[in-house]
């Protein structure tokens, strides 16, 4: 066991991990952060996406020990000061059905809007192309991202 620390959603957390512990499992089982989901466990589905030092990564393909001293942000962190404009739009447009893909999609779409506040439909599709959704056919998800993007003023909240 090695003692490491993360800045998780703004808060410093100390924990003990084994070299073969996977970040996704540590977040869910040791740190109680349940938004990242395990879908495929091999990088394909995007359900486990989190921000690592500001960039989205597949937490099922990251070793917990690699992230010592790094910043991790999950959907729990995004919503800390009230829902973001994107989250509100997802709710308004009923963008999800079962919701299993929602945290991962939210991370990917948030990353896009942080970098590129006015994406085209093609850019939105590219940004979430690594997030599989088995329920919705994607249309209501794409609509929400594009509608938030079109509404200039709210980007501060992303």
């Amino acid at each position: 066991m090695k003692k490491i620390s993360y800045k998780l959603n703004g808060e410093v957390r100390h924990l003990h991990v084994e070299p073969n512990d996977v970040l996704l499992d540590v977040l869910r089982d040791k740190l109680g952060v349940k938004s990242p989901k395990c879908g495929c466990d091999r990088g394909d589905c995007g359900a486990c996406a989190v921000f690592l030092n500001g960039k989205s990564v597949r937490s099922c393909l990251v070793l917990a020990i690699e992230c010592d001293g790094m910043e991790i942000e999950t959907v729990e962190g995004l919503g800390q000061n009230g829902l973001t404009a994107l989250q509100e739009k997802f709710i308004e447009l009923n963008s999800f059905q079962c919701g299993y893909c929602a945290p991962g999609v939210t991370i990917s779409a948030t990353e896009l809007l942080r970098k590129n506040p006015n994406p085209t439909l093609h850019e939105v599709k590219e940004a979430i192309s690594g997030n599989l959704c088995r329920c919705t056919g994607y249309a209501p998800i794409l609509d929400a991202v594009l509608e938030v993007a079109a509404k200039g003023g709210e980007h501060g909240k992303l």
Binding site: K2, E18, P19, N20, D21, V22, D25, C38, D41, R42, G43, D44, G46, A49, K55, S56, V57, R58, C60, L61, V62, L63, I65, E66, I107, S108, E111, L112, K125, E126, A127, S129, G130, N131
Partner: protein, 295 residues
């Protein structure tokens, strides 16, 4: 799912420490870069190292810069960095475009191009661009440093010229002196995750020199000397393209697997070679081409 196999984790701060770890553990050490390949292999129990050497703390592996007429890509450079770099987009747009065909943003944010060529799977998307630009792989270990031409790097599926006490420091691409444009066309079943079923890369210069490379249609990515000789010095027209298409089956050795049949791969390699060549010539002439949607 947890990783069942237990190993030691080291994150050296200097190259010397990294080399010492490789010398000490030999074949039982595995280098850890973006882990997008390695983590899957660890989970599946395909590799069982006793020590993982995380190279992301080695600043010598970070550069992405122009040096002595070469584009130097440090081993820690990710596909996202390549796709977003103004330097890469300006000097070798094909490299940025190839990077964007790899998986999805969340994978590209960690996956390195060095890890890609070290994984050495037949479908690797970095293969064609590195082959047509005559890239050199710079490797180093306690016994010294060597440069391996990319044509000698791939030995077969998951086999490279890297020795067990060495690591990749950088990949270097000589910047062509002549006007040039490269194009990579990748056939996948869908955007976002899929490995190439067929990949074709070409490089065309202003004085009608052509370079051609394929991936996913043989045990390793390859250059095609015959196609290059057939095209050399000639203007691209319908008759020449017909000859080139006809020569493709003799240049590749695809198999039938879960992702495509042999026949389909051969046919698509012909179609894609033609489109890649036409696109490169058009781009060189100043036309705008949607390279992302050639197929």
């Amino acid at each position: 799912m947890a990783i069942a196999h237990e190993f030691q984790y080291e994150k050296p701060a200097t190259l010397a420490e990294a080399f010492a770890l490789l010398t000490r553990h030999g074949r039982r050490a595995k280098i850890l870069a973006g882990a997008t390949d390695l983590a899957v292999q660890l989970k599946e129990g395909v590799v069982t190292p006793e020590c993982l050497v995380d190279v992301k703390g080695l600043s010598e592996l970070d550069p992405l810069e122009k040096r002595d007429g070469r584009l130097v890509i440090g081993a820690n450079v990710t596909f996202s960095q390549l796709a977003e770099s103004a330097l890469v987009r300006g000097e070798i747009p094909m490299l940025a475009e190839s990077a964007l065909t790899v998986a999805s943003v969340g994978v590209r944010n960690r996956a390195t191009i060095a890890g890609n060529i070290c994984s050495a799977v037949p479908s690797l998307d970095a293969g064609p661009v590195l082959l047509v630009y005559d890239a050199v792989v710079v490797v180093a270990g306690e016994r010294g440093r060597r440069e391996i031409p990319i044509t000698e790097w791939f030995l077969g599926p998951r086999k490279t010229a890297l020795l067990e006490d060495e690591l990749v420091v950088a990949i270097e691409l000589p910047l062509p002196q002549k006007r040039h444009r490269g194009v990579y066309v990748k056939l996948g079943r869908y955007r976002g995750e899929d490995l190439a079923q067929v990949g074709v890369g070409v490089l065309v210069t202003g004085d009608d020199e052509y370079k051609v490379a394929f991936n996913a249609v043989g045990p390793k990515p390859v250059r095609s000397a015959n196609l290059e000789a057939l095209l050399r010095g000639k203007k691209l027209d319908d008759a020449l393209l017909a000859q080139a298409r006809a020569a493709v089956p003799g240049e590749i050795t695809p198999i039938t697997d879960i992702r495509a049949s042999r026949e389909y791969r051969v046919h698509m390699a012909q179609v894609m070679l033609e489109r890649a060549l036409r696109a490169a010539v058009a781009l060189l002439a100043g036309a705008s081409v949607d390279v992302e949607h050639l197929i």
